[in-house]
């Protein structure tokens, strides 16, 4: 029995090099000891991710409320660790399917959970048809605070930076700002502009908008 596992693991490793980032791995032990839950990439899934009713929108009010709450937490956690800022409903999203129990969230269910997040201010629909959703695992205000801290920590109080530099520059690498979604960044910057903490001005091209800080 053990030999087969080794063969499978080896071939899986080989396959994984070519496969996408998020193939589910399971680490299992012999006998009746509990196996570890599977992961999506490096994200650890909770045990109820394998509970089939979790993937069916529950009709009973109390049960539904609990289910929605758990999904909201899970979505925010996953997006935070994987740095995902936008979820498109019609595309495959690894969190919304579980191949182990062969269940997938229906479109209705996905919309219900994301709308619940939007109602809380933790997400925003980007279009009226609810096809694309912006995930705010930090609220705009929180992002604004992070930017202010970033500026203060690096001594950029009176200097100028481009938007792209904020997103991908060397300085931002150790912060949460690295790789931030452009829409979210612009919103946070606009919020700070209203408070007078900075000024946005257009550069030679749209990619090159500049920020003058006056924190």
């Amino acid at each position: 029995m053990f030999g087969i596992e080794v063969i499978i693991l080896i071939s899986s490793l080989r396959f994984r090099l070519e496969a996408e980032n998020f193939s589910p791995i399971s680490i299992y032990c012999e006998g009746s000891t509990c196996r570890e839950m599977q992961k999506l990439g490096d994200f650890k899934l909770p045990h109820f991710f394998n509970y089939p009713p979790y993937f069916t929108l529950q009709p009973v009010r109390e049960t539904r409320e609990k289910q929605v709450q758990l999904w909201k937490e899970l979505i925010l956690d996953y997006c935070r660790t994987q740095k995902i800022f936008v979820i498109k409903l019609e595309e495959e999203f690894p969190l919304f399917s579980n191949s182990v129990i062969e269940r997938t969230l229906s479109h209705e269910a996905r919309e219900a959970f994301l709308s619940a997040l939007a109602a809380e201010g933790r997400a925003e629909w980007l279009d009226k048809g609810h096809r694309s959703c912006l995930i705010l695992w930090h609220r705009i205000q929180e992002w604004a605070d992070i930017i202010v801290n970033f500026v203060k920590d690096n001594g950029f109080e009176d200097s100028v930076m481009t938007v792209e530099e904020i997103r991908f520059g060397i300085e931002s690498r150790r912060t949460e700002l690295h790789g931030i979604d452009r829409t979210i960044l612009m919103r946070a910057l606009k919020l700070l502009e209203q408070k007078g903490k900075l000024a946005i001005f257009k550069g030679t091209s749209t990619d090159d908008e500049g920020i003058k800080f006056s924190v």
């Binding site: 499978i8 009746s32 394998n50 509970y51 009713p53 993937f55 609990k66 758990l70």
Partner: protein, 467 residues
């Protein structure tokens, strides 16, 4: 008052218990029974008078309470029925029916069935009883049927047939032991001796059955009279079937057994000899129907595990009635009337619109406890409970099982799982999960039980790699 009349038994739904072969003929409401002389019994006011082939029954009627007993006058005790006098007075009065009842020396109605009554000789005294019909019933029709029933003397044929079969057996056994030689007995009829005798007897019985069947089917009126015989025949056949299947030692082929069981079931459904009809009950049709339905539905309820679909009950009831079928509306009305009476059954409508008849003693909580324990079994934790699984384990119909599962879901005991595999229910784990601490699993809760059950299924759950 109760000392004068014979006591008649009543079912828990308020219908009188009929004697063997007794058939209901007519029913009148709002009837008072008055004696000519008040010291015989105090007048009975405002009751339901039921005429049957054997007795005259009086039930105290009030739609709120169910009568627990009834008073009876055996038709055998009636010596004379007076014809109605049409006079000027009778136009203004409620119609009256007067009849003369024989009374035994101790002041009770002469009861030909009981030994004490007959031993003291036929009652020498008689009392004239008047039935005053204050209700809306057809008193003339009642009177005609009263005469007919009284003259038909159905109770006597009962006795003679009973004793007749007894004496027949006795003579048969005598013949077998042999009281003398010769093929012909003293009175000239063919003697039943030995194997030939048995065969001849069988032959005779078969011929008489055949003739009886022929007579029955030639004339519908005759059929009604023969109906009793038909039911008796059906009973006999059923007995034969039962004894036949139990005494079979060698393996009978399955087809034979199957058709015998079919026959048995079909015969069992022929149950009610005297259906309550619009004719015999008049304005009280729905009330009496309702009570009769309550009585009838008891056996199917037990067989179905305490709850039966209204449609199924309707089919069974109509089947048992044979002729005089009732419409679905009548059925629904009869069931709704149960709320007003004190009967042990009730009509219940589920959220999904399904209507069922269930015992009043049926407890939902008990069913939920059973469902909960079913859903907590390892097999159910891994694969969930489908309506068929629940039906098999609870011993009820799948449609009923689904209703129970849905109700349990609405109470928060179960969660649904809809997939291409179908509609299944799992035990509800959500209450135990803490949204602020989603990775934590309590040691002895239902979540840890579920995790253990799911993980021991081992390999087949994993899709390790898509190769």
């Amino acid at each position: 008052m109760s000392n004068f009349f014979s006591k008649a038994e009543v079912t828990s739904s308020g219908r009188p218990v009929f004697l063997h072969n007794e058939v209901e003929c007519h029913l009148l409401s709002g009837v008072d029974l008055e004696p000519e002389d008040h010291h015989h019994f105090t007048p009975l006011k405002s009751g339901i008078l039921i005429l049957t082939t054997h007795r005259l029954l009086w039930l105290h009627s009030s739609s709120a309470t169910t009568p627990t007993s009834a008073s009876a006058i055996p038709l055998a005790a009636i010596s004379h029925i007076f014809s109605s006098r049409k006079s000027l007075k009778s136009v203004f009065h409620s119609p009256r029916i007067r009849f003369q009842v024989l009374v035994s020396p101790d002041g009770r109605v002469f009861d030909p069935g009981s030994g004490s009554g007959s031993s003291s000789g036929s009652g020498s005294r008689s009392v004239v009883v008047t039935a005053v019909i204050r209700g809306k019933g057809d008193s003339d029709g009642f009177l005609v049927k009263f005469w007919d029933s009284w003259r038909a003397r159905a109770w006597e044929s009962n006795e003679t047939s009973g004793s007749g079969s007894g004496s027949g057996l006795a003579s048969g056994s005598e013949a077998v032991t042999g009281t003398g030689g010769g093929l012909y007995s003293r009175d000239g009829s063919l003697r039943m001796v030995g194997v030939a005798g048995i065969l001849r007897k069988e032959q005779q019985m078969w011929e008489s059955t055949d003739k009886s069947l022929q007579d029955a089917f030639q004339d519908l009126n005759a059929l009604m009279g023969k109906a009793k015989e038909m039911v008796m025949l059906a009973e006999k056949m059923r007995q034969k079937l039962l004894s036949g299947t139990s005494s079979q030692t060698s393996g009978a082929n399955d087809e034979d057994m199957g058709s015998k069981e079919e026959m048995q079931d079909w015969l069992l459904s022929v149950g009610i000899i005297s259906p309550v009809t619009k004719e015999s009950a008049g304005a009280l049709y729905h009330q009496q129907l309702s009570r009769q339905l309550a009585d009838f539905v008891r056996t199917p309820l037990e067989r179905a595990g305490g709850m039966i679909n209204l449609i199924d009950a309707y089919c069974l009831f109509n089947r048992a009635r044979g002729t005089e079928l009732i419409s679905p509306d009548d059925m629904l009305q009869a069931c709704s009337l149960w709320e007003k009476f004190d009967v042990p059954v009730m009509l219940r409508k589920f959220d999904s619109g399904v209507m069922v008849i269930q015992n009043k003693s049926h407890s939902d909580d008990e069913v939920f406890a059973r469902i909960k324990s079913l859903a907590a079994k390892p097999e159910a934790l891994r694969n969930g409970v489908s309506p068929t699984d629940a039906a098999m384990s609870l011993g009820i119909a799948p449609a009923m099982a689904k209703e129970h599962l849905l109700t349990a879901e609405s109470k928060g005991l179960l969660c649904r799982d809809i997939s291409p595999d179908g509609f299944r229910f799992y035990i509800n784990l959500f209450p135990e999960i803490d949204p602020l601490n989603i990775y934590f699993v309590k040691d002895y809760g239902i979540c840890s039980t579920w995790i253990k059950a799911v993980s021991t299924s081992g390999f087949q759950n994993h899709a390790v790699i898509p190769l």
